[in-house]
Amino acid sequence: MQALTNKAKVVERKPMTVWERLYLPAIAQGMSITFGHIFKKRPTINYPEKQRPFSPVFRGLHVLNRDEEGRERCTACGLCAVACPAEAITMEAAERLPGEEKLYREEKYAAKYEINMLRCIFCGLCEEACPKDAIYLSETFAPSNYTRKGFIYGKDELLIPDPKTQPEEYAKARGNK
């Protein structure tokens, strides 16, 4: 049969020479290879102590953002929930009462804001949908948990620290976004 391509390689099936049949030279060769590997640099890192940096476009856990004065940006418009292909986001809106101007930037805010991290596919569409720049995806991932309930993140987990009172934590959570 004619070969379709010239990639086929004829395998040589010569009987082994005496040197090859001795096994020992080949074994010594193999052992020198494995011995050489002992001194090679290992690609593994000791994970919890050392961590590799994520790329700046990494899409990890969500963060609910605040503005420069520490007010929540979210107005509970629901665009993120609509954009979410996995239907992981739920929220309940509430009206800002007089005296709460320091807490919420606009008259309406999210009283409850939950993301189910088991449903979330970390596509980042919520970030793109948000008109108020209130949600973005950070460079961390959801840690393990014992229950499914533990993966439903509420406002207390999602909200970024106040830049006024906790500037260091704010900067850390903010990263280089």
Partner: protein, 354 residues
């Protein structure tokens, strides 16, 4: 003297036995750690490094895990033999250490304490006898499990060990023609005065080494526990510390056969490049004995490393290849080695005249 028994002698030997048994157990324990560590290094991984510094407590954790596991005895197995199997494997592994000279002798309390449990004049024969008993651990365990895979593995193990024992014995005969003694202590003392036996018997050592791998059921000859074809073979049905005993016995065997190899071919407790007798006169017998013990230990450690190194390099033999190597390769080679050695020994005895 009560009943004419030398109580100090009995005390001394009991302490020595306890020390050597615990030593071989500790060495076996840390061989498991070394196995995992060397395997990791060879495969560019890190190996156990969580339990203690460098994972040094890993064997303790493994042992604890094995103790905590549920002990399962299959319903249709032969209960007595099922329990006897791992016990026999461990017993035979430990018994061999009785005749190995670990060092020369200590001088304590005005007595010469030999660091050898028993210097019997048929030392090597004893080792061969006990080692060939070792196959009963595998046979009985595999048979009592009442499982096809285990039985198959047991049969494989038995036939393999019997085949390789022949070549091993023949390779030793050539060595014995040179030494003229079966006592391990005498063999070591001869090597202290002359060159090590490896110089006179390189081929014999090679055959012995290959056979030792087969006797210990180590890769490339671990056909009796071939996990990919026999589901771990003879210890498939075992759990908990009974499994631990089998695994442990393998490492004890490795330790003992390393010690035997070092004793027979690498001068035993002889310290290389140093005249031991004059060193003992200059610095005291006790220091010499300790250093000699260390010297043997270094040799043993090297051989254990070698066992591990080979395991993570060479793939397993196919069964027919194993048998061909044993019967058609090693036995004729050992016979030729024996004949040539005998010829030279005779010639030498005859002052190099025909």
């Amino acid at each position: 003297m009560l009943l004419g028994i030398d109580w100090f002698f009995i005390l001394e030997k009991s302490i020595l036995i306890a020390a050597i048994i615990s030593l071989s157990l500790v060495v076996a324990m840390y061989s498991t750690w070394a196995e995992r560590k060397v395997a990791a290094l060879i495969q560019d991984r890190r190996g156990p490094n969580r339990a203690g510094i460098f994972g040094i407590l890993q064997p303790l954790a493994d042992g604890l895990k094995l103790f905590m596991k549920e002990e399962i005895i299959p319903n249709l197995s032969n209960g007595f033999l099922f329990v006897l199997g791992p016990g026999l494997a461990m017993l035979t592994a430990m018994m061999t250490s009785a005749v190995i000279p670990w060092s020369s002798h200590l001088e304590l309390f005005g007595r010469n304490i030999d660091l050898q449990i028993a210097d019997i004049n048929i030392g090597i024969l004893y080792i061969f006898g006990v080692v060939s008993m070792g196959v009963y651990g595998i046979m009985i365990g595999g048979w009592a499990s009442n499982n096809k895979f285990s039985l198959m593995a047991a049969i494989r193990g038995a036939s393999q060990i019997i085949s390789y024992e022949l070549a091993m014995g023949l390779s030793i005969i050539a060595l014995l023609m040179l030494t003229g003694s079966l006592s391990l202590k005498t063999i070591v003392e001869q090597q202290q005065d002359h060159l090590w036996n490896i110089v006179y018997q390189p081929l014999g050592f090679l055959i012995f080494l290959v056979c030792a791998f087969a006797e210990c059921n180590r890769t490339p000859f671990d056909l009796s526990e071939a996990e990919s074809e026999l589901n771990f073979g003879y210890h498939q049905e075992y759990s908990s510390m009974k499994l631990g005993f089998y695994l442990f016995a393998e490492y004890v065997n490795m330790f003992i056969s390393s010690a035997v190899m070092a004793t027979l071919f690498f001068g035993g407790y002889d310290i290389p490049f140093i005249n031991d007798a004059s060193f003992g006169d200059a610095h005291g017998q006790n220091l010499l004995a300790i250093l000699q013990g260390l010297s043997l230990f270094v040799k043993v450690a090297f051989f254990i490393f070698f066992f591990i190194w080979v395991r993570w390099t060479i793939p397993r033999f196919r069964y027919d290849q194993l048998m061909r190597l044993g019967w058609k390769g090693l036995i004729p080679l050992a016979l030729i080695n024996m004949v040539i050695t005998g010829f030279i020994v005779l010639l030498k005895a005859n002052d190099w005249h025909f």
